[in-house]
């Protein structure tokens, strides 16, 4: 049986240096429950070290946590990469770690770019049954359109993420090359109160929901669908 699940596929924990200390795994899950969010992706900058704790915190709550990571590519493009399970996530995170500048630690590491191109990051995620979403594409920096001008030919990008205040129709008018790509709305929350938004993404999927279900919904396969609040 398929049902609509409210989603937020881009949330930071306190592990991201730019996020508030209040963004603990338990607090994030509790906030998701309060907001009726059933599908959550935890995506810290260049690390996935808190995804397992978030999955643990979500046990029995009805919230599914998808392991994720927000990668800053060679061109300073931000990509939200989602992986199907902890093992694939760990493998992908090891790759990301190994392509960061070796001389940096802590906050420096999370602000640096990997040596992989945006195209390569998408390909590496896909190789691990994961998917990549271009993060906050309407922003004038750290975004696919700002940094690379348009979607590179052949890039394996599953969706484009917009913020709550961006009008989807206006976005498509501005970027005609994006017209065939699905949009998702995510909070990119760095503090708890910013998880509450006026617009959300929803996925029409089978439960227990997996990343494969999300991917199918974005491709509109097998009756699965994705939509955003108008």
């Amino acid at each position: 049986m398929l049902s609509w699940l409210k989603a937020d596929l881009h949330v930071h924990t306190a592990l991201s240096p730019c996020a508030e200390a209040e963004m603990t795994p338990r607090a994030i899950v509790e906030e998701a429950v309060a907001l009726g969010i059933r599908l959550l992706a935890v995506t810290d900058h260049q690390t996935s070290a808190n995804t397992a704790a978030c999955r643990l915190a979500a046990r029995g709550t009805g919230v599914t946590v998808i392991p994720g990571i927000e990668v800053q590519t060679r061109e300073d493009v931000h990509l939200v990469c989602l992986l199907p399970d902890e093992a694939q996530m760990a493998d992908f995170a090891t790759l990301i770690e190994s392509t960061l500048p070796p001389n940096l630690t802590g906050a420096g590491k999370s602000m640096a770019s990997v040596s992989l191109t945006a195209d390569e990051v998408c390909r590496e995620a896909a190789r691990r049954q994961g998917l990549a979403i271009a993060a906050h594409v309407e922003r004038p920096f750290f975004s696919l359109f700002a940094n690379l001008g348009f979607i590179p030919a052949g890039m394996q990008i599953a969706a484009l993420e917009i913020g709550t205040v961006t009008d989807p129709a206006a976005f498509y008018r501005k970027h005609p090359d994006a017209a065939l790509r699905p949009l998702v709305v995510s909070s990119d929350a760095h503090f708890l109160s910013s998880m509450q938004k006026s617009r959300y993404s929803y996925f029409y999927v089978a439960e227990p929901v997996t990343l494969q279900e999300v991917a199918k919904a974005l491709r509109r396969e097998d009756g699965r669908q994705a939509k955003i609040d108008s």
Partner: protein
């Protein structure tokens, strides 16, 4: 000023597009954010950038730029070189920094 004069003076390393070295250079644009380049660079400009992604070739082709100089010995993606060869866009590498390249181009009289 012709592109080949710029290339010779700055000792640029040509990676692709040798057939268009006689193109006139109208001025210089410096930048790495392709959205801004698409908005602000002018036809005939030589473009100095760190950006080695293949999308630079499409941008240069779209705007009729005279050529692209990848500064600072940045690693250029082989896809970009192949794409530039196909599109016949002059693509150069330089070990000089963006600052040095811009300064020398200005000193050569390219002031727009």
């Amino acid at each position: 000023m012709l592109l080949k004069t710029v290339a010779e003076t700055l000792e640029l390393h040509l990676l692709a597009g040798p057939a268009k070295l006689d193109s006139p250079v109208s001025g210089v644009y410096v930048g790495d954010l392709l959205s801004l380049v698409m908005a602000d660079a002018r036809a005939g400009n030589v473009w100095v950038t760190h950006q080695g992604h293949q999308n630079i070739v499409a941008v240069a082709s779209l705007l009729n730029l005279s050529g692209i100089i990848i500064a600072g010995g940045s690693n250029i993606r082989k896809e970009a070189v192949a794409h530039a060869a196909t599109e016949n866009i002059p693509l150069f590498a330089s070990s000089l920094s963006v600052f040095e390249l811009a300064g020398r181009l200005f000193a050569m009289g390219l002031r727009t």
